[in-house]
Amino acid sequence: MLFQDVVFWILGIVAIGAALGVVLIKDLFRAALLLVLVFVSVAGFFVMLNAEFLAVVQVLIYAGAISILIIFAVMLTKDVQRGNMPNRLQVPAVLFAALLLSVLVIVAVDTDWNLISEEDQEKVSLVQTSAVANIETEDLEASGLTTDSEQAAARESGLADLLIGDFVLPFEAVSVLLLAALIGSLVLMRPRPPGSTS
């Protein structure tokens, strides 16, 4: 438990410090590198929260693909060294962000969360881990899932079964959305034929 707490606070300080660097550092290239650090520490949080699959996806998509895209874009535009200047809205933006932050913190602390009890927590972590790992029968029995039907339910409730089961319609919709967005960005970036106006 102590080890978990230490890792949690290190990750939290790294994530928040790097996020502050992203918005405050003037050099856009360094800001993009700090953004990668934020992505990696969020992946660490995902591992601590039983979301191993999401942690891998986070490293592949955010720390891999999206950060490369952003760094490419930073290199292709000029004024990299002093590109991250504030605009006139700085004071209202700070006030608005601080107001929102205080509201969110008050809600998070004040709400009476319907927390999962300690003994159920083990079962939940087994089910959430079953998205990426095989569960041993001994582990299931140790966590209190003794009957065959309960164990089968815990094994079958992985992330993939939900994605192509209950959530198949949003899954297909989001794939069409991704295709449309990629075609749209290709159209936007296509070089204009000579002689066309605008």
């Binding site: 994530a15 992203v22 918005v23 800001a31 009957t147």
Partner: protein, 113 residues
């Protein structure tokens, strides 16, 4: 490590991203700040999926175990939408840069008149 600490860290990340997307001139910095906010929301969803019981769980845990994964499924969808958003956003930034030789959002006035 508790639910509240997790939520507060996600809220701080979201507020930083909000400040960055409101107060920066560079379009790429604004896109980066939006990515920060996406990450904060994902963190919130996954933390709630771990710590908070869905209503169905109160009655019979064993029959409703898949309910504890719904938050992670939502996070998968948000990551996909974020990828689509960054592709389109960079496309718009490049189109803007090609037309005006600048990525400064305060100088863009093409839609104004």
């Amino acid at each position: 490590m508790s639910l509240e600490a997790m939520l507060i860290i996600a809220a701080i990340l979201f507020a930083i991203g909000l400040y960055g997307s409101l107060a920066r001139r560079n379009a790429l910095a604004v896109l980066m700040s939006i990515e920060l906010m996406f990450n904060a929301v994902n963190l919130t969803l996954v933390a709630l999926a771990k710590y908070v019981a869905p209503f169905a769980l109160d009655e019979d845990l064993a029959e409703n175990l898949s309910g504890v994964l719904t938050g992670q499924v939502f996070a998968v969808f948000i990551i996909t939408v974020a990828a689509a958003e960054i592709a389109l956003g960079l496309g718009i930034v490049f189109a803007m840069y090609r037309n005006t030789e600048s990525v400064d959002l305060t100088e863009v006035a093409e839609l104004r008149n």
